[in-house]
Symmetry: C2
Subunit: 61 residues, 2 copies
């Protein structure tokens, strides 16, 4: 499976926000993240970088 983990960059540190993300959709100035189990999180943040081969989505506020 090719899901990715999302990290929120805070004070230069990456904090794990959500694992096994399948979908990412823009939502009200941020994103809706949905994992492979259908669970959703909404976060006001922007993309800093995505590294798909490393399964990494890095967001920042």
């Amino acid at each position: 499976m090719c899901e990715a983990n999302a990290y929120l960059l805070k004070n230069g540190k990456e904090e794990l926000l959500m694992e096994k993300i399948d979908k990412l959709v823009p939502h009200e100035g941020g994103f809706m993240l949905e994992n492979i189990f259908g669970q959703r999180k909404f976060i006001k943040a922007k993309i800093k970088e995505m590294e798909l081969v490393d399964h990494k989505i890095i967001l920042e506020e």
Copy 2:
């Protein structure tokens, strides 16, 4: 490998923009896309949706 393909939504149709994308980084009002071979494309577009399990990144202008 968990790279994805990027499509640009134009007039309701998805046009293949780049295959086997590893990295996606915001760049001047759009994104820099880099595939697993290190080739890069710059596109002025925003994310409409990402479906990682389906290896799909959908962008729109």
